[in-house]
């Protein structure tokens, strides 16, 4: 069950107010009870004194119970020397306390009484007055009830007020939610609401950062699709043109040649699509899942074995020296693609009878894969652009996809590896270095 912030706030606030009110009422009740108690005690004492005065003024012998008949709520007994002289009709049939002067609580015949005893030494008179205790409770309860009365009307009214206040307080939040809800999927500019409360700012910032990443990702996707579509146009144009040449060819040899080129063009388009798919999987937001230990030397050897026929065809001397097994953490499939692309490029751009040297070295905690070719190298101005998508070494006459190094760069980045390109300092050619973090600690020197 999803919690509602409004309900939560409402119930917490309402509960707090109610508790505060009940506590106040309770203390007021106690206070009132005490006040009533004092007041009634005073009245009790006053009554006893008045009766005593009356008794002293009158001839006590002749008024057995006269002055006491006025008292209906108060029980009275007048004692002299331990003998009950008179008592009111409301008095119980047992002595109301003792002769000892003062206030007392007593249980007489199952009823709680508050008693007051007044002793007049001169007349040897003892006046005892008592009130049923439950009368006091009733009075206190009645006062408390009156105090609580407004509560019956105020609580629902207050509830409504709290509900409205909470709703008003949550307005910026619902405005914020509305703003997000009403967004079109392609509207990813940052949220900037002037009235966003401080408490919601972290959420706004998190959303904005998500929007930014989404926008980057979408922009990348859009550019990628556009680039891919354009890049596929040329191979398709070649296939179509060669097919039409074949259709219009008058001699069999020309037709065969053109058809051969149609097949070549289809192969090239397929290769381009393969590379595009690899690159699409290597989205910048993509991260390496479950890296494993990979022996780079083995990957390089496998790749060299695959490329040997192409190298032999071009009479390119392809060599590998491994100073280290090159144990690193990574994704072996992606690393194989990286190695394959680099070796493929090196052989592709190395002229016949050239040389491609591959080295695997260990520098402290780095494993460095270096691929040096004897090709034309890359103009210094172009070294920056070499990994951009669809960049091809111009005028090389090679028909690569222009995606190889983009893929290499992306895979290197996923592995936190440093990829550097430099022209050979000793001879012509390009030197590509990929420096990985070694999986095993550096050996002591």
């Amino acid at each position: 069950m999803r919690t509602s912030l409004r309900w939560r706030l409402f119930s917490l606030l309402a509960m707090s107010v109610l508790l505060a009110w009940i506590a106040t009422a309770f203390f007021t009740y106690l206070d009132t009870r005490r006040e009533i108690s004092t007041m009634l005690d005073e009245r009790l004492m006053h009554t006893a004194e008045r009766i005593l005065q009356q008794l002293e003024a009158d001839d006590t012998d002749h008024h057995p119970a006269g002055p006491l008949s006025d008292y209906t709520h108060t029980a009275l007994q007048v004692w002299r020397n331990g003998t009950l002289l008179m008592q009111s009709s409301t008095a119980p049939t047992v002595p109301l306390g003792t002769q000892q002067a003062g206030l007392q609580n007593m249980l007489l015949q199952g009823v709680h009484y508050r008693t007051y005893s007044l002793w007049d030494a001169r007349e040897q008179l003892n006046v005892r007055v008592a009130e049923r205790y439950d009368l006091r409770d009733e009075l206190a309860e009645s006062v408390a009830r009156h105090l609580l009365h407004p509560l019956y009307f105020a609580v629902p009214g207050l509830g409504v007020l709290i509900w409205l206040a909470v709703s008003a307080g949550l307005t910026p939040l619902s405005r914020f939610a509305n703003e997000v809800k009403q967004r079109q999927p392609d509207k990813l500019d940052p949220l900037d609401l002037s009235d966003t409360p401080r408490e919601v700012l972290p959420l706004q910032n998190a959303l904005n950062s998500l929007f930014k990443r989404l926008q980057d990702s979408l922009e990348y996707e859009r550019r990628f699709t556009a680039d891919a579509a354009h890049e596929l146009r040329t191979p398709l144009a070649a296939i179509k043109t060669q097919a039409q040449v074949a259709c219009a060819a008058t001699d069999a040899e020309q037709r065969q040649q053109a058809l051969g080129k149609v097949i070549l063009g289809a192969d090239r388009a397929a290769h381009l699509i393969d590379q595009l798919l690899v690159l699409a999987q290597l989205d910048p937001e993509h991260c390496l899942i479950g890296p494993q230990q990979v022996q780079l030397a083995t990957l390089v050897r496998d790749s060299i074995a695959q490329h040997a026929p192409a190298a032999i065809r071009k009479a390119v001397d392809l060599g590998f020296t491994a100073e280290d097994d090159g144990l690193i953490h990574g994704d072996s499939t992606l690393l194989a693609i990286l190695v394959r692309n680099l070796i493929d490029n090196a052989i592709r751009y190395t002229p016949g009878n050239g040389q491609v040297d591959i080295q695997l070295q260990r520098h402290n905690n780095r494993v460095v894969l270096q691929i040096a070719d004897s090709g034309p190298g890359i103009a210094a101005a172009d070294l920056e652009r070499i990994t951009s998508r669809f960049y091809r070494v111009l005028g090389s006459g090679e028909d690569g996809s222009g995606l190889g190094l983009s893929i290499v760069q992306r895979i290197a980045k996923l592995h936190d590896a440093q990829l550097t390109f430099a022209n050979s300092t000793s001879a012509t050619g390009l030197v590509v270095r990929v420096s990985f973090t070694a999986a095993t600690p550096a050996l002591p020197e």
């Binding site: 354009h230 890049e231 146009r233 040329t234 191979p235 398709l236 144009a237 070649a238 296939i239 179509k240 043109t241 060669q242 039409q244 040449v245 219009a248 060819a249 008058t250 020309q254 053109a258 080129k261 070549l264 063009g265 090239r268 111009l394 005028g395 006459g397 028909d399």
Partner: protein, 221 residues
């Protein structure tokens, strides 16, 4: 008709070159912008087929430089970018027509024929001269309504002379129409083709301007 093809893609360039040759055009094919620039300076072409995405010097730059040098030959651009602004930019830079990849080879041929015709001042697709009419699209020549069988090279020479009717074409100019780079030029071939054309059509059709070349007289229809 001699065309300069500028296309850096091997397969596509090869296809276009072969396709245009099939249409009876002579093609010089270069692979980058710099070569195109040089070729335009050194040779005279009837039209250029220009890819925009070129190494070294972009197609747009080649086009602007050619126009700046006062070359008014028709230029058809090939572009992978189908967006309107790309085509507008190409046309505004001085191109006469454009095609978006992938295109139809027959359309490229037809558009080139139209460009060539316009550049020579003909509106009609079929060129007529007296009783002779030549249709570049179907590659046919008729004399008084009767089809005449001419070879591809004879057709090219007749086409050139008809397009330039009233002007003398030198032997070298005619040879240039026939041979692309790397073609072996045979001596006396022009004379042989002229002789064949005179025999097949009309002995008086092609005039020899001694020491200069050949021409067909322009008749007012």
């Amino acid at each position: 008709m001699k065309i300069l093809l500028v296309e850096d893609d091997q397969l596509l360039g090869d296809g276009i070159a072969t396709g245009l040759t099939q249409a009876g055009l002579t093609v010089d094919w270069v692979l980058d912008g710099q070569q195109a620039d040089t070729a335009l300076l050194a040779n005279s072409y009837d039209a250029v087929v220009l890819d925009l995405g070129l190494p070294k010097l972009s197609g747009m730059d080649v086009l602007k430089r050619a126009r700046a040098q006062g070359k008014d030959l028709p230029v058809l651009i090939l572009t992978a970018y189908s967006a309107v602004e790309n085509r507008v930019a190409g046309l505004d830079a001085g191109a006469d027509d454009y095609l978006t990849k992938p295109f139809d080879l027959t359309e490229l041929q037809a558009r080139l024929r139209a460009l060539l015709r316009r550049s020579k001042g003909y509106a009609d697709a079929v060129i007529r001269q007296g009783e002779i009419s030549l249709d570049p699209a179907s590659h046919t020549v008729t004399l008084a309504g009767q089809p005449v069988d001419v070879s591809a090279r004879e057709f090219t020479i007749l086409h050139s002379l008809l397009l330039n009717a009233g002007r003398v074409m030198s032997r070298a100019q005619l040879e240039e129409q026939l041979y692309g780079w790397g073609d072996e030029i045979e001596s006396n071939t022009i004379e042989v083709f002229i002789h064949h054309l005179r025999r097949k059509l009309d002995p008086q059709l092609i005039l020899t301007v001694r020491g200069v070349g050949y021409m067909i007289e322009k008749t007012t229809p």
